[in-house]
Symmetry: D3
Subunit: 260 residues, 6 copies
């Protein structure tokens, strides 16, 4: 941990990290030639980036988007995952029980990386466009506010890709949108859905005409949040996430202790 502090934002190879305005960081997934598909290196990096932003006193709000007009991300880069023998791509020598143990460890580590976005103390505004499927939904579910452009094409890919790939969508989606019937529909079919449908069910809270306009809306929102008391903003993020998972009584108990 001490070590990652010494890492500079420019050391990350698959993400561009900039500061468009005071106290605002902008993280861009940068592999547009592959529709921003994620390799194992990338999920480790994104975890480290958000852990670092979480502790950075110069950052109070974060925008997460992707380079290019075609995709936020097309999900896992299956070829890269295969080459590294990850996520259930079984090697021949070891027995089933060891394989299962190894797989559980890998998924747990993968989840830990993506969960850094939710654990990040600063609010994260996720801007999606174009192809936004599979891991795109896992990542967006960890963000605080979701915005997209009109051309965004979403899909929850768990039933297609196979189960080992689920990294948070199934755990979070029933808690962050309105209709459980709709959640079951899109998760059991892996069918695509567009920006308007995402807005109607509350998955995103704004749809803009173009990606550029969506980035602009996110920037204004981020700057506005960054102008507030950072202690109040970060406490609010933490309490709302706590409330999602706990009873009202537990949240009220924790709340007044958090603020002591």
């Amino acid at each position: 941990m001490a070590q990652s502090e010494r890492e500079s934002y420019s050391d990350f190879r698959h993400f561009i990290i900039s500061s468009p305005s005071e106290y605002v960081a902008h993280v861009e997934i940068n592999r547009p030639s592959k529709l921003n598909a994620f390799t194992p290196d990338m999920w480790v990096e994104i975890g480290r980036i958000f852990a670092k932003l979480s502790r950075d006193p110069g950052v109070r709000a974060i925008i997460l988007s992707a380079v290019g007009d075609r995709a936020f991300t097309a999900g896992l880069d299956v070829q890269a995952v295969d080459q590294q023998g990850l996520l259930g791509n079984r090697d021949q020598q070891s027995d089933a029980a060891r394989q299962a143990t190894k797989l559980r460890r890998q998924i747990s580590e993968f989840q830990d990386c993506i969960n850094q976005i939710e654990k990040c103390e600063k609010p994260v505004i996720c801007v999606m466009n174009g192809v936004s499927i599979g891991l795109a939904i896992d990542i967006a579910c960890c963000a605080d506010v979701r915005i997209c452009s009109r051309d965004t094409r979403f899909s929850v890919k768990e039933v297609d890709i196979g189960m080992a790939a689920d990294i948070g969508t199934l755990a979070r989606l029933p808690k962050i949108v309105s209709s459980f019937s709709w959640v079951k529909d899109v998760c059991l079919t892996a069918r695509g859905f567009g920006a308007e449908e995402a807005l109607a069910v509350g998955f995103v809270s704004q749809v803009l005409e173009t990606k550029a306009k969506a980035i602009e809306a996110a920037s204004m929102l981020a700057s506005f949040i960054a102008s507030k008391s950072p202690v109040a903003v970060q406490g609010t993020k933490e309490l709302l996430n706590h409330a999602r998972d706990n009873t009202v009584a537990d949240s009220e108990y924790t709340k007044h202790t958090l603020k002591g």
Copy 2:
């Protein structure tokens, strides 16, 4: 249990069970002359049917609807319930404490029957039309996807029928639709509401012009789900139901163990 396996689908007296396409089962409530109102025999049967479908390797998706154009179901057949001395219809001899114990057992067994729809390992698509009140809502809340025709007339009847009749609606409705203010409104008043209102709050995820079209939409959805990997589909149903009731951390823990 071994025994119910020996039961044939054609043995059930109050339900028609067919297979409209490969791996799809269609269960129809078949008492149209009484608006498909449920007798005690019927709730025992529906529990056994869904337990059997859950274990049937030839079934991967299920449609649940009712015979006739007038009603999905008008709820409990109060006359039949009375005749059998069930659900709080007190006999004269026994004291209050014993009555209460007996009532609790009956309600628990009634809930167990209806809960088989939710526990069924295969996705259940519920198609409602016409009169869909009382027990209709309890049943629909246990299904995974809810679809209805434009003429459907819903009502949560708990406050009218009296409390002993609640079999799951009050426990599930706050978790499967969007607005708690709306949930309180329809549950505290027992007022009717229609298809459009049900769609707006997310209780159903599709409204079709006619019952026939709704069945058609459900059939396409069921066939599409049945074409996916059954292990992935069934795991997804289980995880989403688990997520509805648990913290994100618990769901992620369970999730990667489920998939080991």
Copy 3:
């Protein structure tokens, strides 16, 4: 407690309590000259009022609104809070740990007062109009049904006012409206929003043209609820609140025991 029973409804100084129809009580916040802003006396009074209504056999449904056309409430009266040295307004003599202990006690007592609205055994219909910010949201979240007039202007003020002021909104909002992205947006920015937006996300379940019409709609709803079996209505309120915070299995267990 025995004592508050001896208190008459006309003893309360900051609220008007009337009975517009049989079994219906109407509570009006009565400090229109200050936009109905709350002093510490007022939050103690509102707690006592709802505790009393909860036990009053002559009351079966409650309307909560405010006097005047300008505001439901503008939230805490900061000046009054300051004068009494409450909620984090530190006195000079005592050390940090004692200050923190004192603050936690005050917030806990403040929460207890507002929570009486949720704990009240009778349904509460909250009618908002005009300025409805800060504590207005905390109070509305404790009510069962939320209705507003078209001119209502809402804002979740936690990040602006500072954290010690949160009295329930952050704990409840994620559980009573549809879109977590929207919840984060309005809570992290403290931005205003209007009646239509509140309806779209399910925060209110009806928007009426004027405050008078909203009161009229609430009165009809209250009278309708008051015409039902009070045992069934109160049991339904309790079970729905329990369901919001608990698993389906726990709610079903409790439910059939509640009805024994």
Copy 4:
């Protein structure tokens, strides 16, 4: 609440409250002629006493014992309870549902009074002697440390007195002693047990030869605790009670927030 502060410790009629040493309060149940049996007035008083001690900056540790050598308490004074028509003693006019509602309110208020002992921010050392049955166990379970003299005779009276009388023992005993087999044994039979058995299973942590020696031991313990940092002592009590009821992860989360 402001009001109870104005109440003096000498205003309580059924309890003697003294201060044997600096920062230590001693509360004695004072109805020895009736084996310290509790009337409804007494349980309201004990609730107010511990609420007052909780807020009294001059108190850091509390001893709870009873006047006389024959009993800590023989439990409820059934005659007094009957006369006031409390706890299930049905009046003739009202119907069963109303009776049940009334009974639930009464038990809830009775529990709230006794729970003030557990909620009290300062540690409570309970010293038992002689007859210590029924409500004695409910009260002792709410205390932090339990000490008794060799002549103490315990009994969990729920199955004998009838269920409405349970005020916390069944909820707490499985969490505060070692052997669930023993808990079931004493709770299902209402059989008596003595000081040595109470020590062996961990219900008490010290047995002294006489009541006087037990009071002396409690006094030394209370003075020792009162010599520690009150913030640390009160935080420790709160965290241990929280830990009893929550997962380790939740307790660790709450713990470091509590101390912020």
Copy 5:
């Protein structure tokens, strides 16, 4: 269910069911030639027996022991389990995912059978002697009171037999005995332990010289419990089991509703 009611106690093939005194049932595992090892038929039978006893108004307390002086039970009859292709004994044709699904169903059904002992509304006193290993501990953990003779030899066999065999011990043991260090010791090593050690940690609450004396002690205890109000006794069992798994606040809430 209706059906099992028609089953007579004498229909069960592997258990002797008698009534040694009024309102007391005695269930004896009856396969002494095989050290009372359990076949799949036997675990289905024991589930049906306790479901039947739970509903039998003539039964208020139950003794569970085994025929013969050598063993309570030596656990699963591995040979019988193998022959039926149960619990992970893989058939060749089906793929890994289907095998896993089948195994999960079997374990779940096996757990459901054994859990009937805990779910049984009447208290169950388990008397162990001689070899009491593996499934013996699972069964005993579901009982309410555990008694044994001095010659009893216990062992938690999970780590030896393999994991698929665990049917409740690991879930319950940490909650019903005193020392987590001891629980880990006996569960991680599968080492044997005797009656005195079982008493010291609270796993049993009585050790008698001989099996005959242990049965005698259990009979007295059962008769004594059977002489109490059955509603109070059954409510107490239910509340204590609920308390083991829930917070004090939830148990108190449920408690007073249970008694309404």
Copy 6:
């Protein structure tokens, strides 16, 4: 993480790591000149060591003890903590809210390090001797089996050292020993207690005459555990820890999924 894999066991500066027998690792705290008091470097190291052992396929059981005859550990090295400005040692420049945020992060990171002992997939046997106070108890509570020599002197130091130092004892102790009265006694007073008392309440499960004999007993236990199926042993550790914190129903659900 990939990185820590490259770390060799001999790279750790404050701990000796050896392998006394096949599949057994022995970790020794190595700062005997300072009674093995912990510096911040040491708690980071112990976290990394147990994370590494958790993944090391050559390790199946772990012994944790300390070098020297005087102490397991005397807790935090307060001087070292002060010099690094950690755990509440406030620097002058920053305001109270930032200080609180910083402190919470530090405690959370400190907890994460010590929690690696509990999260380690392999069983950990903790052998204590001599001075074993403060952090010694936090560490021992994370181990699976606790053994000590007769000369061990324990103390829970939270109320003396101040609250920021609690790193797990208060969250775990109520769940791993028998008597809540005893837990409150030792935690509220910080009084010392010896080996026999620790054994009587179940904190340790064995007391040996000397440290050498305790290490010998731990070695035999570790070798015995290491001879079992590692998958079964590690699954058992995980399930028992899960059971400590969850309901029986959740543990059974997870259990059979874990084993799929």
